[in-house]
């Protein structure tokens, strides 16, 4: 019994998917992220919480180099995925983003059919050799996105015609269609109603079995519900990182405590 427990622990500590070391992010002259060190495990949901403007979204966007598209943004320090520095000169951000999928705050399906939305990623990465394979990938992705049953009869309908919650699940399906290893979610439920939120949260929990999920959220209840690990950001600093239960019940840092109890933020 005791031996088993130790073995489990070892597995948990060995599977570090993403490691950040002394990451600094500058927007022009603004120092947006300061000295962030964090290790994110595989097959877990890690939540980033913190008040608005604390840098949690910025840090999330560093993990798949979406910040590259912003001219004034500069990243210093190392972010390793599976031990490889993603800011290395040799890394092509396009390849990286195929490995690290992203779901955005506002559902942003392409103004194309549901099928084409999901098929786009596999198509540009050449994941399917023929139509049948592509159909397979699309179906699998839509099933994983927990939206297959709702859309299987109207794959040709425009993705923008779905409801907000469906659109967001479609975007999740689109993100998983390229077989990423990490899934980044930037406040995926902030534009959704409570029912759609519940569906997406359930989905996140299922996705944990295959992916390392990192989710930015404003809702502490959501972080508590879906995540196993939680990181609290404040004013660009990573204040505290640990087991979600521990963060919400016995935070070490006074700033974490005051945020969780609603005194700052």
């Amino acid at each position: 019994m005791k031996d088993n427990h130790i073995a489990e622990n070892e597995v948990a500590t060995k599977n570090i998917k993403i490691a950040a070391r002394d990451v600094q992010v500058y927007y022009g002259d603004t120092h947006a992220i300061k000295d962030v060190n964090v290790e994110i495990e595989d097959k877990t949901v890690t939540a980033f919480i913190g008040p608005s403007g604390c840098g949690k979204s910025t840090f999330l966007r560093c993990i798949n180099r979406m910040n590259d598209t912003i001219d004034v943004c500069r990243v210093v320090g190392d972010i390793l995925i599976d031990g490889e520095d993603i800011y290395d000169r040799k890394v092509d951000p396009v390849q990286l983003r195929a490995k690290v999928g992203m779901v955005f705050q506002k559902p942003n399906p392409f103004p194309k059919s549901i099928y084409d939305n999901v098929a786009y990623g596999p198509r540009i990465h050449g994941l399917a050799r023929n139509k049948a394979e592509l159909d397979d990938i699309v179906e699998r992705a839509l099933r994983r996105g927990a939206i297959w049953n709702e859309v299987k009869d109207r794959l040709d309908a425009p993705g923008t015609g779905l409801s907000g919650g469906q659109q967001q699940r479609l975007c999740i399906a689109r993100a998983v269609a390229t077989e990423p290893e990490v899934l980044l979610m930037d406040e995926p439920c902030s534009a959704l109603d409570p029912i759609a939120t519940a569906q997406v949260e359930e989905l996140i929990d299922e996705l944990r079995q295959n992916y390392s999920v990192v989710i930015v959220t404003h809702s502490m209840q959501q972080a508590a519900r879906v995540s196993q690990k939680t990181a609290f950001f404040h004013l660009g600093n990573l204040v505290e990182f640990g087991e979600t239960d521990k963060i919400f019940t016995a935070p070490e840092d006074p700033r974490t405590e005051s945020y969780i109890t609603g005194r700052i933020g």
Partner: protein, 444 residues
Amino acid sequence: MYDASLSSGAAPKPRGKSLLVQDARTRKRNAAEKRFRAYGMTAILIGLFFLVVLAVSIIRSGVPAFTQTVVDVEFTLTEEQYTAAEGELFKTKAYEGLLIEQIRDTLEARGLEVAFDAGAIERLLGKPGGTLREHYRANEQDLGSPVSFKLAAASRVDGYLTGRVTREALQDSRFMQASDLDLIDALVSADIITRAFNWNFITGADSGVDNPGGAGIGASVIGSFFMMLVVLALSLPIGVAASIYLEEFAPQNRFTDLIEVNISNLAAVPSIVFGILGLAVFIQFMHLPQSAPLVGGLVLTLMTLPTIIISTRASLKSVPPSIRDAALGVGASKMQAVFHHVLPLAMPGILTGTIIGLAQALGETAPLLLIGMVGFVARGYPDGVLAGFTEPNSAMPAQIYTWAARADASFYEKAWGGIIILLIFLLTMNIIAIILRRRFERRW
């Protein structure tokens, strides 16, 4: 953070008035709104009024250009007469004499007696003998049976019938004499003079200054067409590529800022500047053929590019960034994101901008005059497609300008008629733009 202490102060004072009564401030606001609506309506009505005036005057002045006064004579030539006429020294003169006899007989048969000579017929119809001779030499089987000839009347006959030339104002000249008017009256009452649709105006080429009846806009339409081909083929790809690069790929620095400012300024440069540039660079330096639609197209491309670039950039900018994020997020490269997602979404705007640019180019006159595409150059159709680009030709607006500048009042009518044709082309282009927009928008 919400501060509860703020609301604990003085409670809001009740206004003390009924909602059913408008207070002074509300009345003032409502009056201002009403006034503003009235201004807007007035502005639109004024615009509509001018539009109607313009349309009516264009149609009134231009429609006569599409019809022409013709002398419709039924003429029979026997084989003996044919052989006799061909044996004469002045062959066309002989045919003319026969025609005059025929007209005289017709008038007498109707009981109309008018004295006229060959000179009067020539003033009315030009040299009709040639037309008759050509016909019979080409169609000998018509000999002996009646043939109906529609001979185009001189512009002053047109003028007399439309009221432009009056008996009082007429001064005897080699073009027309007072006695000719009697002949015209007689021909009208004998139903020999009629008005017919003037196909030559649509299909023909420009004529000499003293022959407004023979002037047509067809050759210039072809000139404009080849020019527009050049403009479209060059300005659309160059303009769209430049705007995609500037909008999506170019780094933001001083150099690109400079380029942007210059593009905006270029859009405001008067077209005649482009004309003289084209003259200097394309013709004098590069030795491209003068008056050629190719050169005209190149000059108009320079003029159209800023318009296309500005509108393309605006429509690229209006595509929400979330679409770019979405594409990049699933691992598309920058170029894939732009070409697969942004560009199709911007397409309606790009097409509209392009067609507006083309319409502008189609109506441009000044630069064409500088590179020699003046109206009188359009004397015929080009031989073949390649020649269409390189042979001297004119374009519709330059042709209109040339006609309007000519002394003969009939050309004035032609100018208006040309404007109608030009407007038809512009309307067609706008309709195409609307259809394309609808098409592309429906796909999403």
